[in-house]
């Protein structure tokens, strides 16, 4: 079952670094504990989002492929 998303960040049609810029912007605006659904069409998201999550210590819940789109679920974590 897909996680519940508190906010959808649709970056379809854009290329890196835009999907990450948009994800980071949404993460800053939302509080810890919220879940983002990042929608992307750039295949680079599969490589970039895991390392972005590692650097920001947010939790990547999963990436699903739906046709040409990537559905990525990120849980925002309280920063230490």
């Amino acid at each position: 079952m897909r996680p519940h998303a508190d906010r959808v960040v649709d970056t379809s049609g854009t290329f890196c670094p835009v999907p990450i810029i948009e994800t980071a912007k949404a993460a800053r605006e939302e509080g810890p504990g919220k879940t983002l659904l990042v929608i992307a069409t750039d295949p680079g998201i599969e490589s970039d989002l895991p390392v972005w999550c590692e650097g920001t210590r947010n939790e990547l819940l999963g990436i699903e492929r739906e046709g040409d789109r990537y559905l990525c679920f990120v849980r925002l974590v309280e920063k230490r």
Binding site: F15, C16, P17, V18, I20, I21, A24, D42, P43, G44, E46, S47, D48, P50, V51, W52, E54, G55, T56, R57
Partner: protein
């Protein structure tokens, strides 16, 4: 005492990783890391064309990887706007060996960094620059010019070479310890590799010999071709990805042809078809091509022959080539058996 706040420019290479580790872990500063995306990064452009690594996956962005290895967030900032492109097209300090206006590019980046620093209330900007490592932008006199013109006098720290450079204000005030900084210079990476081991940085990218398209000779030819065939010295944002895509031919002063070399490039060209002609052989597999400008009939025939020549119908006596634009569709039947030397003469 209030913690010193430092804004780091992180490229993702070893030197910038070391700089961040020194400022954060050795000097004990609060660090914020940013990465400027210029639109001229070779790795990023390859990613856009779907070029995969050995594992079949698109390579991750190097600055994000560096952030992950260092356990810090890297803010990606897109500076590939018209203001940046105007700097690249009209550099005050000129170009390097190719289309690389490294000094002006650095100044533009550092001006942007200064604004972010001031908004954040930070104390200084730091980079992984190493004195004498690069022939144009990292000479002693150039480092000083960049610092002056960006308005960061006394607020720009290069931790790897700091002991060879005048002290920053934070050093003079005793807010950071100059003795803990380094005196590295030159092109060798030995000292950096030893330092990486000491600072616990085990996983870092190998030097790629420059990631910027502006330092690439073939890219530079195409870049200057645009500027040379335009009244106003200006380059537009959507022209940059095209410069890194396909074979380029100057058909006439007003007409340019770009022919895709791979599926990924054909995909990329299709994205930029607006305002241009999309040209492709009709009945045989072949590349996609874009034509800029308004070709004469003779130029349309020549372009059609070149496009057909790069397709599977190259040995045929006749190939039908379709032209599409917002204005409609046209078809030309041409002989693709054109001399290689005739094509080479038009190649940019």
């Amino acid at each position: 005492m209030k913690k010193v706040k430092a804004l780091g420019l992180l490229s993702g290479g070893l030197d910038s990783m070391l700089a961040l580790a020194i400022v954060r872990d050795v000097l004990g500063c609060e660090v914020r890391a940013i990465h400027f995306y210029t639109g001229f990064c070779i790795t990023e452009s390859q990613r856009r064309r779907g070029v995969a690594g050995k594992d079949g996956k698109v390579k991750p962005n190097e600055a994000l990887v560096a952030g992950a290895r260092l356990g810090t967030e890297v803010e990606m900032i897109d500076i590939s706007d018209q203001g940046y492109l105007d700097v690249i097209a009209n550099p005050k300090y000129g170009y390097g060996a190719n289309a690389n206006p490294c000094i002006d590019c650095r100044i533009d980046m550092f001006v942007r960094a200064r604004k972010i620093l001031d908004e954040w209330g930070g104390d200084f900007v730091f980079t992984g620059e190493v004195l004498g490592q690069r022939p144009k932008s990292q000479r002693r006199s150039t480092l000083w010019v960049i610092e002056r013109d960006s308005g960061l006098q006394g607020r720009l720290l290069r931790p790897l070479s700091a002991k060879l450079l005048p002290p920053t204000q934070a050093e003079l005030d005793g807010r950071i310890d100059r003795e803990k900084l380094f005196a590295i210079s030159g092109r060798s990476r030995k000292e950096q590799m030893a330092l990486a081991e000491k600072l616990g940085i085990a996983d870092y990218p190998q030097p790629a010999g420059g990631c910027c398209y502006l330092t690439d000779e073939a890219f530079a030819r195409k870049f200057f071709d645009i500027l040379d065939h335009r009244e106003e010295r200006r380059i537009d944002r959507d022209e940059i990805p095209l410069l890194a895509t396909g074979r380029h031919f100057r058909i006439s002063p007003n007409v340019k042809l770009v022919v895709g070399r791979t599926e990924g490039e054909n995909f990329q060209l299709r994205r930029y078809a607006q305002g241009r002609y999309l040209v492709q052989a009709r009945d045989v597999p072949g590349p996609l091509a874009l034509v800029e400008g308004e070709p004469t009939w003779e130029e349309m025939v020549l372009v059609s022959r070149i496009v057909a020549r790069y397709g599977k119908g190259r040995e045929r006596p006749e190939v039908v080539v379709a032209w599409e634009s917002e204005g409609g569709r046209d078809e030309l039947t041409v002989d693709p058996r054109i001399e290689e030397s005739a094509i080479d003469a038009l190649r940019i």
